[in-house]
Each structure stands twice: as structure tokens, then as C-alpha cells.
């Protein structure tokens, strides 16, 4: 009988271990470690979280707004076939929330790629409406007066859902073609209304809109020449063309205010070519030429008196841009840029209803705008490491003027700006710069409104004569490898002139201090604080009886904010961190020369405090558990809705003090 001698398992183990040790262990371990470092990583994160309270501001754009349990889900799958350079990507974020997004991509790098992406953005109104309005969500609504507070509660919401399809193909010889198509829907309801003077009624605009965009781009990338040309189209479709409101005649202030037109369907198309050419390594020119047409010929919701069926709206836009940069000497850099844009509203001017008064004629009002902007800038390196930058900017805007004007108007404005900036490296650890800009805007003579006010005209803010000065100081200080500090300070002044009423002057300051510090290899801290103050003075006049009394408003806005952050590792397994954010906004409305005692507006304050903490424990390699905690406090004393009621009894309100805590626990697994 043949005898077979068996080697025992433990012996095999020793042999395998030994062989592995000789030839493989070190290499295998090295290889595994290297693989971890160089292979694309994928991960999944799933868990659950709990929100302690109802807080609309906290979850306005995510849906994380009602107390209760929420799922946490994020996927980031990324795989590459090294042999072919083919990528497979699947992203999914916020799967447990309304603001979820998903993306799928497939790519042969350097050859082709395509993908599809879905994203949803909810937006909850911060206000609760108490109303008797019937038909919210529909394009026919019935105003139903109620006693204040006796209606039903409704929070309005809109929701965007977008799907984007992309593709690209490299054609060789530097050529590639890209396509992108995005289809986005927006649905829901938003604040609306109708009325005159004290007869204001609440309505909810029904929104059922589709927006589509198409890009087709042919590109060329050469060593010196790059070109990109293509077509861009955008298409707007509104399923709600009008809002019909009943009752039609419920008082003089709302008579005839039905139906109300909602945004019409429209579309725009653009063909363009843009490119750049590098004459030398230090001299380059670029350009863009584009021609666009936007049309709007949606059917009118009611027939116009002369029998027109649509506006036949058409705006043709021409864009020309050219830029040049050069470094003729090592110490000197030059830049020049010019842009011409002509938005020519070619919509035919027609009569749409019988003339009513001197201020309301019967014709539509096309709005054309032609602008020329130019810039030249030189930067020169001076001795002692000073660098001086000087520049001149010019902008000319020319508008068409319509026959009957509601406000003081100007056909042309010109603005010339001079800039100078001095920079210096103040040592190995300190860099600083100071810049000054002076701008002066004026233009053609003002053309008075059809009904000239006895008080004198206003010079509208965007066409008024204005002189602007701005100083900016910046310091970067890095006294040690671990510490860096940044200081930024802006001061600016606007002086308006040319009219008795309207903006008089404005001032603003902004100061920010940032610091980051690496406490050790394992711990990093950062902090920042900023303060912004702005003030505008506006002059107006009010009529009581037949007497006009001038008054003015000094509107101040102040924002103070800071943030602190800390990240670190407690040991090999624990990572922890946290952030504190504080933001406080205050608006003051200083009225002077006010003829009525009641014309006092209390200051408005908004305060936001957020504390975020996280801790991540690595249970084993690639598997970790994460704990998140967010405490959010938001408060305001805003009176904008609290003292107001529509004539139909509708009121809006918000919770002036909102606070909540979110606690989340999730598992994360990663692989390569």
C-alpha cells in the first residue's frame, strides 16, 4: 500500500508566510499602500439625523426644516480602467434631503465623454401666509376677504428640477466638439398681488415654467492659436400665461386688474467665435465676436385694441471684444481690452390701446443699449521691489429714448476711471499693497419726464452724475511657516450731483482680518472677522395737500461677521473639528425733515449664529463612523410684514426667533 505523507496545514501557513515574507510581503504591503495612494477612491456614506425643531430659515433650500428624522446619503463612486484611461463616475448627494443631486459620467480620457446630471433645489418662503384666497396653485384665483388672522395658513414654495446632458468628443489635431443640454423646470407659487394705493390684495403667482439651454461648441487648441465657436440657445416656456382674478370689480383700486399677464414664452439664440493667439511667450491677443437674437412673440392674453395678437419682440445683440497683453520688457507688463456690445431692440413700435393721459401713451417701449468699454493698464517693477500698476477704464453707455418718460432720463453716460496701485514685498514675511481708484461719470443732458414734478427731477441712480473714490489696503503677513495673517481694508465714497432730488452721496468701509495657524501636523485653526458699513443719503419730497415738503433718508447698513474653525486628530483613529459662524446685520433708516410724526422706521436687525461640530472614528481601515452636530440660531426684528395687512385681510408672518439642533450619525466606507 502506498503511503502518503501529508504536510499539516500549520506547516503550509508557515511556508506561505515565509515565502510571502521573502518575495511578497514587503512588496505586497508596499503595493497595497501605494495603491491606496494612487488609485481613485470611492466612498459611500449612509446614516440618519434628527432635527430638533421646525426651522424654515435653516432648511429653506434643503427641505431640512421640520423636526424629525432624516436620512443621510452620499455616494461618490469613481473607477478608472488604467489600461484604457476610461473613467466611470457616479455621484449622489443629499439623498435624504429634497436638495438631492445625482450625476453619472462615462469618459475615455482624451477621447470622449458623456454624462447626465439631475439636481433639485427647493425654496420655501420664509413667510407663512394667512389668507382667504382660493385657487392657490391655479391660474384662476378668487379673492375671499377674511378678518385678519381668520384665514388658512399656507407656506409658498417653488422647486427647480434640472437635468443636464453633456458630451464631448476629441476629434484629433487639437479639435474637439462639446454639447450640453439642460432642461430645468420651476414649479410652485410665489408672493404676488394686485391693487392701487390702499386697495392691495394678496395673490399667489402660479409658477409652471420650463427653461431649456443648448450649447454646441467646436474648439481648437493649438500651441499658439486657440479657437472656440458655437451656438447657444435658451428657451423659456410658461404654462401659466395669465392669472385671472375674481371678483373683477371689487373696488375702484382693483377694478380692471384681471387678467394679469404672466411672463411670456421667449427664446434667444447666439452664434459666437472666440479665440486667442500667442505671438510670443509674453505677447497674446484674444477676441470674441458674437451675434444673438432674442425673440418674444407669445400670444397676448387679451386682444389689444388695434387688434395685435403678439408683440413680435426681437432684440439683436452684437458683441465685439479684443484684448492684448504684452511684456515688452521684463519689468513692464501691458494690458489693453476693448468691448463693444449693441443690444438693439428691434421690436416694432405700435399702438396697443387708446392713449390715456400725457404720462401713459399707447405704444410699447423698446429698450436698446449700446456700450463701449475700454481698459489700458501698465504694471512696472520699480527698484526696491516696488511694483506700480496704473490703469485707465472707460465706459460709454448709449440708450434709446422713448417719447413719454416716467422718470428723468439720459441718453448717454460716460464714466472714466483712473487706477493706481503700489505693491511691495516688505520683507520675507510681509507683502502689502495700496490702491486708489477715482471714477467720474457724467453724460448727455437729462430729458425730463412727461409730468415734470414741481419739486424738481430725480437723477436716477444708474445714470446720475457720480464721482467715486476708492482706496484699498491689503497686507499679507506670514511670520512663520505655521501662521499667516491677512488684512484687507476698503474705503469708498460716492458723490452724486446733477439733480436736486435722488441720491446725494454714499460712503462705505469694509475691513477684514483673517488668520490661519497650524498648531501642529495634526491640528489646524483658522479665524476671520469682517465689518462692512455703508450709508446712502437720498433726498425726496412729499406732498401734503398742495404743499411739497423735502425730506431725506440716511440709510445705513452694517454687517459684522466672524468665523472660527478648528480641525485635528486626537489620535490615529479620531478626527474632530468644528466651526463657529456669527453674522449680524443692522439697517438704520434715518429720516430727517420728515413732515409726519409717524414716519419713523425702527432699525432692522438680523442675527445668525451657527455652531458645527464633527467627529470621525476610524473603526478599521476605510470604514469610519461620523457624528455631526449643528446648532443654528437665527433671529430678527424685521417689521416689513409684521405691521402690514392686505385689504382682503391676508397677513404674512415669520418666526422671529428660530433655533434648532441637528444631530447626525453616519457610516462611511471607502474603497479603491
Amino acid at each position: 500500500m502506498k503511503k502518503t505523507t501529508q504536510i499539516r496545514p500549520q506547516g503550509l501557513t508557515v511556508i506561505a508566510a515565509s515565502l510571502s515574507m521573502v518575495f511578497g510581503s514587503a512588496l505586497a504591503q508596499d503595493n497595497e499602500e501605494v495603491t491606496r495612494l494612487i488609485r481613485p477612491e470611492s466612498s459611500v456614506q449612509f446614516g440618519a439625523g434628527y432635527l430638533s425643531d421646525d426651522v424654515i430659515r435653516f432648511g429653506q433650500y434643503s427641505g431640512l426644516k421640520d423636526s424629525g428624522l432624516y436620512a443621510i446619503g452620499n455616494v461618490d463612486y469613481l473607477r478608472r480602467d488604467d489600461a484604457t484611461g476610461t473613467w466611470y463616475r457616479f455621484d449622489a448627494r443629499n439623498l435624504g434631503l429634497e436638495s438631492r443631486s445625482v450625476r453619472v459620467e462615462h469618459e475615455r480620457q482624451g477621447n470622449w465623454r458623456y454624462g447626465i446630471e439631475y439636481s433639485k433645489i427647493p425654496r420655501y418662503s420664509q413667510y407663512v401666509v394667512n389668507t382667504g384666497l382660493r385657487g392657490i396653485g391655479d391660474d384662476i384665483q378668487m379673492v375671499t376677504p377674511v378678518a385678519i388672522g381668520a384665514g388658512f395658513d399656507k407656506r409658498l414654495k417653488t422647486e427647480r428640477e434640472g437635468v443636464t446632458i453633456t458630451g464631448q468628443k476629441f476629434l484629433g489635431n487639437g479639435l474637439d466638439v462639446q454639447v450640453r443640454f439642460k432642461n430645468e423646470t420651476k414649479e410652485g407659487d410665489r408672493l404676488f398681488g394686485r391693487g392701487r394705493f390702499d386697495g392691495r390684495q394678496f395673490l399667489a403667482e402660479p409658477i409652471d415654467q420650463t427653461m431649456r439651454q443648448v450649447d454646441v461648441i467646436l474648439g481648437f487648441t493649438g500651441e499658439k492659436l486657440q479657437l472656440s465657436g458655437g451656438y447657444y440657445g435658451s428657451f423659456f416656456n410658461n404654462d401659466n400665461r395669465s392669472l385671472t382674478v375674481f371678483p373683477f370689480a371689487s373696488g375702484a383700486n382693483v377694478n380692471n386688474l384681471s387678467p394679469i399677464a404672466l411672463p411670456p414664452d421667449n427664446e434667444a439664440h447666439q452664434l459666437y467665435l472666440t479665440g486667442g493667439y500667442s505671438f510670443t511667450p509674453t505677447t497674446r491677443a484674444n477676441f470674441k465676436v458674437a451675434r444673438g437674437i432674442a425673440t418674444q412673440d407669445d400670444s397676448f392674453i387679451v386682444a389689444s385694441a388695434p387688434g395685435r395678437s403678439n408683440l413680435d419682440g426681437r432684440v439683436e445683440t452684437t458683441l465685439l471684444q479684443a484684448g492684448l497683453t504684452a511684456r515688452p520688457m521684463p519689468k513692464l507688463s501691458l494690458l489693453a481690452n476693448f468691448k463693444y456690445e449693441d443690444r438693439d431692440d428691434e421690436t416694432p413700435v405700435r399702438q396697443y390701446f387708446p392713449p390715456v393721459s400725457t404720462t401713459v401713451n399707447a405704444f410699447n417701449e423698446p429698450r436698446s443699449l449700446r456700450s463701449r468699454t475700454g481698459k489700458v493698464e501698465a504694471s512696472y517693477l520699480l527698484p526696491a521691489d516696488f511694483r506700480v500698476i496704473g490703469g485707465v477704464d472707460y465706459e460709454e453707455r448709449r440708450r434709446n429714448v422713448i417719447a413719454v418718460r416716467q422718470v428723468n432720463y439720459r441718453e448717454e453716460t460716460d464714466e472714466l476711471s483712473y487706477r493706481v496701485e503700489l505693491r511691495r514685498s516688505l520683507g520675507e514675511t510681509l507683502n502689502g499693497s495700496i490702491g486708489y481708484v477715482n471714477s467720474d461719470r457724467d453724460g448727455s443732458r437729462f430729458q425730463n419726464p412727461a409730468s415734470f414734478p414741481v419739486t424738481g427731477p430725480v437723477a436716477p441712480l444708474h445714470i446720475a452724475d457720480r464721482e467715486r473714490d476708492k482706496v484699498r489696503l491689503k497686507l499679507d503677513w506670514a511670520p512663520a511657516e505655521q501662521l499667516s495673517v491677512q488684512l484687507l481694508a476698503d474705503v469708498s465714497r460716492d458723490d452724486y450731483s446733477g439733480a436736486k432730488l435722488g441720491l446725494d452721496d454714499g460712503r462705505s468701509t469694509f475691513v477684514s482680518l483673517d488668520a490661519s495657524y497650524s498648531i501642529s501636523d495634526a491640528w489646524q485653526a483658522l479665524g476671520w472677522a469682517s465689518r462692512e458699513k455703508s450709508r446712502i443719503d437720498n433726498d425726496s419730497s412729499t406732498r401734503i395737500g398742495t404743499v411739497h415738503t423735502p425730506w431725506s433718508a440716511e440709510v445705513k447698513q452694517r454687517t459684522e461677521a466672524f468665523g472660527l474653525g478648528l480641525r485635528g486628530k486626537l489620535n490615529e483613529r479620531w478626527k474632530v473639528g468644528g466651526d463657529i459662524q456669527y453674522s449680524h446685520d443692522r439697517s438704520d433708516y434715518g429720516l430727517s425733515g420728515v413732515p409726519t410724526a409717524t414716519a419713523l422706521l425702527p432699525d432692522v436687525k438680523y442675527t445668525l449664529r451657527t455652531l458645527k461640530l464633527f467627529a470621525e472614528y476610524e473603526m478599521r481601515q476605510d470604514l469610519s463612523v461620523r457624528f455631526d452636530a449643528i446648532h443654528d440660531r437665527w433671529s430678527t426684528n424685521d417689521w416689513v410684514w409684521s405691521s402690514f395687512a392686505y385689504s382682503d385681510g391676508t397677513t404674512l408672518s415669520q418666526d422671529d426667533s428660530q433655533k434648532a439642533t441637528f444631530i447626525g450619525v453616519s457610516m462611511r466606507y471607502a474603497w479603491r
Partner: protein, 312 residues
């Protein structure tokens, strides 16, 4: 010859263990000549020193598009950092190893143009055609001021983390996005690059569609019109009335009504009314002037006088 397997079982593990120790020692002592490239072609010269334990970890470039060697366009280390002979072989008599020819660290002595040119050698086309004439280039912003190359997750290319990169310089906007009326930027649903192309465009403020209005229309096409009755500033520049980064007034308005409206409209009738919170005034509370002029961006209603008043 007869082999006594029992004795083999006794000595073989010990022998293998000995070989292992000797072989292992040899393996650890292998010279650099046997080292292989880890990610990029020719990177063994660099990765003999640079790995994840260095102050500037490099190997994670293998997780990125730059590390996809099947794509023949993929760079080598020297494509971006230069040949750097004195960095690779420290000259005698030099106490500190010279930096690479092109260095991207915070206190780099390499001129920014030279650093950026290394990127532009491959990435000048497409959305970066206008790089040289845009303000970022003119103010010496390096590509690596915003982008992280040696990492799988480049923060600035992720919608959720991009704003914190931009806010490192744009500090006013950092505070503004926390204001009560804001685009969902801090919520991670709108990124700075949805409106701006930081690599430069043909238009002002690096707007992706070359003008403010055209850029706003990408999401707000309903404002485009043209309308029978239009509101002139709407067609010129949305930022005359709105601050898209955040305000304390509803709908991103720079000022609340009536102050904003009174900056243009003469007090010929009710426009000069003094705002008050008393008496249910229409002008300061609720939606202010827009309580009635709900069609403030324009109306396509051709009927009667109220089209002009932007009420219907």
C-alpha cells in the same frame, strides 16, 4: 534517495524563516536602480523622495486626470516642475537642496507667469482663452492659488466647497452669503462658477455669458422679455437693484422699498411718500411699492393704462 518527510517538516520552516530574514533584508536594501515609476512616466526620480510623508504629498496625483497615463497627453513631473537638475542632484557645497525649476508652494520664488504657463501649455483653450486679459491674471493669481493638483478632491471644482476657496480673497461676499436673502450658495446648490468664469471672459465681472443680464437670464429667463411695457433698468443691468451675493432685503434687493424706488422716481404723486410702519402704509411694509407694481420686471399685457404702471 528516500526523504524523511518528518525531518523535512522540522527543518523547512526554520530554513524558510532564515531565507526570509536574509531575503527581506536584501529587499529593503534594494538600490534605486530597481525602483519603478509609481504613477507618471519617469516619476521614480521624484518618488524616491517625495511620497505622502513629505510636506507636499504628491502621490495622490495618481487619483486624478493628470495621473491617467493611458491618456497620452498626461504630463510628467517635469512637464510642470521643469527638469530641475539641481533639485534632483544637490550640487556639492550647497547646504540646502535647491527648489525645483518651477515651484508652486506658498512662498515660491518662481514668477507667477511661469507657474501659470506650465498649466496653460495644456489648458489654454476652451474656457481659459481669455485668461491673460482677466483681472485674476493681472493681479498675479496663480492657478494653484485656487486649484489643488495633487489631490483627488480639488475643492474649487466641487460646487459644495468652491465658495470657501473664492472667499479666501473675496471676503465681502463671504459675509454677504449669510444674509437672510441669498442664493443657495452656502447650501451648496449654487456655486460662484455658475455665474462667473474665474479664468476670464469677454465681458465684465467675468460673467459666464459676457454680460450681467445674459448671465442672470440663464436661470431667470422669464425676465428677458422683451415686453410691451418694460422697466428700463431691468434691461440694462440687474445689479442696479439687486445684489446677487446676498442682502438683508427680500429678493436680493439692495435697498428696500420705497428707498430703492425713490432713487429714480420723482415725487410727482405718491412716489415721494414718507415711509412709515404706522397705519398700514403701502410704501414701506409688505412688498412696498411692489405691493401694487407686481410686474416690476415688465408686463406683456397690451390692455389699457395699467400696463404702463406695471400692475398687470
Amino acid at each position: 534517495m528516500k526523504i524523511d518527510l518528518r525531518s523535512v517538516r522540522r527543518w523547512m520552516p526554520a530554513a524558510l524563516l532564515s531565507i526570509a530574514l536574509l531575503g527581506g533584508a536584501n529587499a529593503w536594501g534594494a538600490d534605486d536602480g530597481e525602483r519603478k515609476d509609481l504613477v507618471l512616466t519617469g516619476d521614480k526620480v521624484c518618488t524616491r523622495c517625495h511620497d505622502e510623508t513629505e510636506a507636499y504629498p504628491v502621490l495622490a496625483i495618481g487619483k486624478t486626470k493628470h495621473g491617467t497615463v493611458a491618456d497620452e497627453r498626461t504630463p510628467t513631473c517635469t512637464s510642470c516642475h521643469g527638469e530641475s537638475p539641481t533639485h534632483i542632484n544637490k550640487p556639492e557645497g550647497v547646504s540646502e537642496r535647491p527648489s525645483p525649476d518651477v515651484n508652486y508652494v506658498k512662498d515660491s520664488k518662481t514668477p507667477v507667469e511661469k507657474r501659470n504657463q506650465a498649466c496653460l501649455n495644456c489648458h489654454q483653450g476652451g474656457k481659459r482663452i481669455h485668461w491673460q486679459t482677466n483681472l485674476h491674471a493681472a493681479r498675479d493669481v496663480a492657478c494653484t492659488s485656487c486649484h489643488q493638483v495633487h489631490t483627488q478632491h480639488d475643492k474649487v471644482r466641487d460646487k459644495q466647497t468652491q465658495p470657501e476657496v473664492c472667499f479666501a480673497c473675496h471676503k465681502e461676499q463671504r459675509a454677504q452669503v449669510n444674509r437672510p436673502s441669498h442664493h443657495p450658495i452656502k447650501e451648496g446648490k449654487v456655486a460662484c462658477s455658475d455665474c462667473h468664469n474665474p479664468h476670464g471672459t469677454a465681458g465684465e465681472k467675468m460673467m459666464v455669458r459676457d454680460s450681467v443680464v445674459e448671465t442672470c437670464y440663464t436661470c431667470h429667463m422669464e425676465k428677458r422679455g422683451p415686453f410691451v411695457r418694460s422697466h428700463q433698468p431691468v434691461t440694462e443691468d440687474c445689479t442696479i437693484c439687486h445684489n446677487p451675493h446676498g442682502t438683508v432685503n427680500d429678493n436680493l434687493l439692495k435697498q428696500r422699498a420705497p428707498f430703492l424706488c425713490q432713487q429714480c422716481h420723482e415725487p410727482s404723486t405718491h412716489q415721494g411718500t414718507v415711509p412709515t410702519v404706522e397705519g398700514n402704509s403701502a410704501f414701506a411694509v409688505g412688498r412696498g411699492c411692489v405691493n401694487c407694481h407686481t410686474q416690476i420686471h415688465g408686463s406683456n399685457n397690451p390692455s389699457t393704462a395699467d400696463g404702463r404702471g406695471l400692475r398687470r
